[in-house]
Amino acid sequence: MNRHGLLSYDLRINGASHDVVDTHFSATLLEVLRNGIGLVGTKQGCEDGRCGACTVLIDGQAVNSCLELAAETVGREIVTIEGYNRPDGSLTPLQEALVRHAAIQCGFCIPGIVLAAESLLAERPDATEAEIRTEMDGNLCRCTGYSSILAAILEVAEARRGC
């Protein structure tokens, strides 16, 4: 790696400023989060943007961090699962629903699913079951067969709608 390919910049992650120092210009946000800063809650499942385990929120939108250049995200508000979590250790309604529906087996897909589902419900509070199924197309799970995950998301959506 040639030294002149290295950049330093500031990223806004979970409401705080993080110094990214001497990092290759081609580094993805996922690499910077996991290897640079040490936020390992965001997972890498593939390198093609097909599995969604790397999902983070950038300015509220669900994005594959494995396909996002870290340098592009300067000035944006990035939220990872660490920032989504409540500091007091309690679970959000979505997290609690996932636990209660036994939607957690190996758990590797879960951080990505939490963020993808939250952003979906924020964008589409009226999402029907059919819409949730298609709009969660970016997140793979190999353990659960999805039914418990879907049930949890649906329950939270309905609760928010006051059903």
Partner: protein, 286 residues
């Protein structure tokens, strides 16, 4: 606020982007990045020129000659925009493109600039008879999309650097129908797609096909046959005619065999999908 470096340049104007490309011809323009980053593999890139901050590329506007959509508009942005709703084909295809995370970033420009078989919006833009605005040192030029795509198939890189600025979709009426087959029932990457603009008043049939050639294509032969053969004033469903139109479309395309499907299946699917598209458009516009 952004970071700036010879190897990563977030350009704020088209001129700045072109200049950077002239200075480092091996650097890649990057907008959404969903294809570029996924495809780079282990190769170390020679540099990126980001187009995300160029405001001219983000515009969506109703203009006298049609709807202008900036090349940098993401699919998610297109799906939200009320002006784009009138170009229903784009909405139908946009919703079926890739995954939600990719739709947050993938741009309409990226969907055209790299002429691959599975691009979802290009067939729609062809059916809508869109033109592309291309910016180069010589200035801005307007080219029909069909011509732009065939030029790109012949030569992936142009000799002088140029940037896709946007597309103009002429104002048209008509019934818009899009369908696609992909592996599975999730979003995904289309194996074969059909985009139909069916204007019963003006007796116009426009068919864009995806997945049956090196890039999206217009089914000119099928269109011409349809326009001539359809009994536009008639009421009864032209089933055998729709079948024939599908056959012509299937005959005049160039599908290949790859991981997703064989050329035989693609040809078969396009025949069936075109037939169904016409039947449905006819029914819907009675």
């Amino acid at each position: 606020m952004s970071v700036s470096h010879p190897l990563f340049l977030p350009a704020i104007s088209l001129g700045e982007a072109l200049e950077a490309k002239e200075a480092n011809s091996a650097a890649a323009f990057i907008a959404g990045g969903t294809s570029l980053i996924a495809d780079r593999g282990a190769r170390e890139p020679a540099g990126y020129i980001s187009l995300r901050r160029i405001s001219a590329l983000q515009e969506i506007a109703r203009r006298p000659d049609g709807l202008f959509v900036g090349a940098g508009c993401t699919i998610a942005a297109l799906l939200r925009d009320p002006l784009v709703a009138s170009a229903s084909l784009l909405v139908q295809a946009g919703r079926a493109t890739a995954t939600r995370q990719v739709r947050s970033r993938a741009t309409i420009g990226g969907n055209i600039a790299v002429p691959l078989a599975d691009r979802s919006l290009a067939p729609c833009l062809l059916a809508l008879e869109a033109s592309v605005h291309v910016h180069s040192r010589e200035g801005l030029r307007l080219t029909p999309l069909e011509r732009y795509l065939s030029d790109r198939v012949k030569a992936a890189e142009t000799p002088a650097p140029e940037i896709l600025v946007g597309v103009t979709i002429p104002h048209t009426g008509g019934y818009h129908y899009y369908s696609r087959v992909a592996a599975g029932n999730g979003g995904g990457y289309a194996t074969v797609s059909v985009a139909l603009l069916f204007d019963r008043e003006r007796h116009v049939v426009r068919l864009g096909l995806g997945g049956v050639g090196p890039t999206a294509r217009r089914a000119h032969e099928a269109e011409a046959f349809a326009e001539a053969a359809l009994n536009w004033k008639g009421r009864s469903a032209p089933t055998s005619l729709a079948t024939r139109i599908g056959e012509i479309a299937a005959q005049h395309c160039d599908p290949s065999t790859d991981m997703s499907a064989s050329s035989a299946y693609r040809r078969h699917a396009v025949r069936v999908m075109v037939q169904r598209a016409l039947e449905e458009a006819w029914e819907a516009t009675r």
